[in-house]
Amino acid sequence: MSQTIATPPSIHLDTDYIGKPTSRVDGPAKVAGTAKYAAEFNVPNLLYGYVVSSPIAKGKITRIDAAPVLALPGVRQVFSHENVPHLAFLDRSYKDDVAPGGSPFRPLHDAEIKFSQQPVALVVADTFELARYAASILHIEYEEAAHETELARHIDDAYEPGRGKTGYKPPKSRGNFGRGWEQGVAHMEARYSHHAQHHNPMENFATTVEWLGDKKLKIYDKTQGAFNSQQYLTKIFGLSKDQARVISKYTGGGFGSGLRPQYQLFLAVMAALELERSVRVSLTRQQMFSFGHRPETLQHVAMATNPDGSLAGINHFAVAETSQFEDFTENVVGWSGMLYDCKNVKLGYRLAKLDVFTPLDMRAPGAASGSIALEIAMDEMAYAAGLDPLEFRLRNYSDFDQAEKLPYSSKNLRACYHEGAAKFGWERRSPEPGSMRDDNLLVGWGMGGGIWDASKQPAQVLASLDADGHLTVSSGTNEIGTGTYTIMTQIAAESMGLPLEAVTFILGDTTLPESPLQGGSWTAASVGTAVQEACTALGEELLKQAKKMDHPAFKDAKIDDVQFANGQLRLRSDATQAVVLRDLVQASGEPKIEAKNSKLPGLIGMVKPPKYSMHAHNAVFVEVKVDPDLMTVHVTRVVNAVAAGRIINPKTARSQVLGSVVWGISSALMEESVMDHRFGRFMNHSLAEYHVPVNADIHDIDVIFVHEEDAAVNPLGIKGLGEVGLLGVAAAVANAIYHATGKRVRDLPITIDKLL
């Protein structure tokens, strides 16, 4: 049985806004173009920097001939390792909040080339066009060294990484897989692979630095964490927080690419400080392939089942790429010890060092890769055991986190299976591959699913009510397009009993209260909880003010005795005893009454020992139609059922899951960064050749949010859903293709050549 914890009455929320589909409050600004992105701030006297990228993957720069470029009128400077200023010395200074173990890349640090497209120079000029032209004629000579970029050739020298990166848990084996395998009556064993992917958000990375004099900078950065960018800059350049104000109000897609400060931030700030001018550096689309990416993995899965279809053993091993200078770790295989009930689990995860830039978290890092192998393997195992893939999963349902040995705070994956299957019509599936047809087309139905952390980080929020009764809530978090502005407005409006129009949420500025990076699907839970706490604190201040105002009804009232509704503070026991919030502020004689939540932001990942395992889950059902001669595949239907606690805004939440499904289809069928190992270089570095789906590739997608209440994760019951919707989608597509065609493709993406 799934375990459910009822919401205690003390935090019961009436649902004026929470849980109601709400259009984005920032929608009009985005549509009208008033929402500005990092490269769009046209500050006066701006200089433009253009990055020169290395054509080789390894070696060193032997000569830079900057003179002819510097002779061009309007070129201000050519920065390279030859003239980069002396900056912080220790690796520590270059570590951002999510830096993995190792030695972070320092732009223009020395003559050494560590990866193809490494930034080797920054040309700064009066116009963008001039900087770009000057960059194209900058003569640089290199001495090439042999590079290694092929993961398959380095499986043998792969090693077990330490606990380097925040959030990384080395996988734990349990029981005895060998015995389970021997005892099993049905078996499967296979190798799986997928290639590197680049995030490719619509908005290219860019930083506009406004020089305000005396090393004081206003920095418009494309990032998923303004504070992360700020702390990086203060350490490297020895700036105070006041000197390095970072602003990031809108981010045109992140998917993880903005979790670490990218090199244009360093370059723009360095140039601004050196030239004492405002500077912008923006990257080209080609350069968007020059930094972190989802690492390629090679995986191996073996499973065995007992006669009753229960899992006798699971063995999941993965090798992933990392750079020569950092250990990028993610949880690829750990999920395989959690999602299904199994005593004998053997897990392994290794890294191989290659001459590439350090990989980077990309939407559902690790889980997206691991679930490809696990969920195709589950399908293969179901066939080997003669069971329907859904029935097989239900027989191996796990109510208890066997990896952490903790009960789940809530887990309603069972409802995902049942509701998803019902909506999809799974019971009409005939198991035999190639047995279902729609006229001349082969029809395939496949499924998959996944599990993702429900995490929460400390965040600080300020709630401020002004004399007009308008509530401004602020926190230095980010909006990467997920709907943060909107749900925080909803939570605040609900908490203070105000209409949405009377609430403004402000974010993306390091002068605001500190918040963690926007990532890990934790923003809704972390900042949302803090918004609620700040509003509660504000409520207490308002009650104090009411007491000061000789209002007999509130004289002895405690915070639990009152409620906020219709723009009033009123007694729970007698709603006619009320005072208008605006009047409270006016009576105070102050322009506003404000309060902060009390939690101090701390290091990411610092949490008390947990009592529960907290996770979100999903189940995905996919239909494909395949032309039996040409082997063209169309994903005609997807049902994605998600259990992610309380859904604050079903509209933006659905968009999150729709986007996840599209990405899953993309991973399954088309998306990959193709490296030519002779050059150690990604070759399809444009959106014409790096394929993601177009509208015509996407057909029906149904999103279901199953009911899940969970007071243990946080008082609002939020688990977050930026990532969970992606899990199992690619595997479900692969499984559906197998069901349609009888062809089991284990190397993604499944392009037409692999099916012919």
């Binding site: 032209y133 006229d439 040409l630 002779r678 394929h691 015509a696 037409i752 050549d753």
Partner: protein
């Protein structure tokens, strides 16, 4: 991108003179290919000659019953032109299978013929490429060549011509009209694009300074039995892995005329007249189509990652011919999969 000057040419003669007068001059149509190449420093023209004022954007019926497409007519206007839709629907379909609506609104018919290969290495100055820099080597051979040619290749270049429109134009036996320093001439479509041989830097037979002024289509439009089938990595906004323009005339079930051209397989739109000859006089059956398909891929050679194209081309040819033959005879149940939105 380098700095350049720009003139909007008032007339064809003036445009040609501008071109002769400036070293490093280039004509610019819609700019959808040229500007990209300039941004990547693959093309570095010093002088651009705008063609929009030449008055070459008309589409007119010719006295012999054919149709003339002005070189500056946009791809979109051509595809949606009532005469093209009615009499040369193969051409309409091919154009609409290419690029995206935004690109087709800008792209011109002349520019479409002149667009350059999408070979990854051609676009990346960090890698050797004989087409971009003669003598530097061909990176695609022995490299990542999934989108490369299987027919008519040379040891120096295995690039493809990426156009869809041109595949239909080859099948329809269009004629290219050009004006140059030495006057006007016409070039049969078959002779316009060339194979790479030992001079892969030359895509076509246009002489320096020559300007495309228009395209003439003969009266025969194969409007009853045609198919443009494009296979690609996504349903839109991707170049063809393999595309097939098939056009038939039928008398009952007997094929009386046939055209067959392929895209995505060679340095030029690949028309195969020997295969066409195998079709004529034969019944329109899958067996007949298979024989023609086998003929087309007879000399095909894969280079590793593009080996699959040989089998894909074979199957695509059969399907396209089948679709063309069945057209107006019975409803094609596969239309949804193979139609090009």
């Amino acid at each position: 991108m380098n700095s350049f000057t720009f003139t909007q040419a008032p007339a064809v003669d003036a445009a040609v003179q501008e071109s002769v007068a400036h070293d490093g001059a280039a004509y610019i149509g819609g700019g959808t290919n040229l500007i990209d190449l300039m941004k990547e420093n693959v093309a570095r023209p010093t002088h651009l000659i705008g063609l929009k004022k030449l008055g070459l954007d008309a589409i007119e019926t010719l006295p012999d019953g054919g149709l003339r497409l002005g070189a500056l007519a946009t791809n979109a206007d051509t595809a949606w032109h009532p005469e093209v839709e009615k009499r040369y629907p193969l051409l309409s379909q091919a154009i609409l299978a290419g690029a995206s609506p935004q690109l087709r609104n800008m792209a011109t018919d002349g520019g479409n013929l002149m667009q350059r290969t999408r070979c990854y290495y051609f676009y990346d100055l960090a890698t050797p490429c004989n087409k971009r820099e003669p003598g530097s080597g061909c990176s695609a051979i022995g490299g990542y060549n999934r989108i490369h040619a299987i027919l008519g290749t040379s040891e120096q270049c295995i690039a493809t011509h990426p156009s869809d429109m041109c595949v239909a134009l080859a099948a329809l036996e269009a004629t290219v009209r050009v004006s140059g320093p030495h006057g006007e001439r016409t070039i049969p479509f078959e002779d316009f694009h060339r194979l790479p041989g030992t001079t892969p830097h030359l895509d076509n037979t246009l002489m320096p300074g020559e300007l495309i002024t228009g395209l003439d289509l003969p009266a025969q439009g194969f409007e009853k039995h045609f198919s443009y089938l494009k296979l690609r990595d996504r349903t839109s906004y991707a170049f063809a892995l393999v595309s097939v323009a098939a056009a038939l005339e039928l008398d009952g079930n007997t094929i009386t005329a046939a055209r067959l051209a392929l895209g995505g397989v060679a340095h030029k739109p690949w028309r195969d007249q020997a295969a066409e000859a195998l079709l004529v006089g034969q019944p329109a059956t899958v067996d007949t189509f298979r024989r023609a398909a086998a003929k087309v891929v007879e000399g095909a050679q894969g280079y590793g990652s593009n080996d699959f194209k040989i089998e894909l081309a074979r199957r695509a040819i059969v399907r396209a011919l089948k679709q063309a033959a069945e057209m107006n005879q019975e409803l094609d149940s596969n239309a949804f999969l193979n139609s090009n939105p």
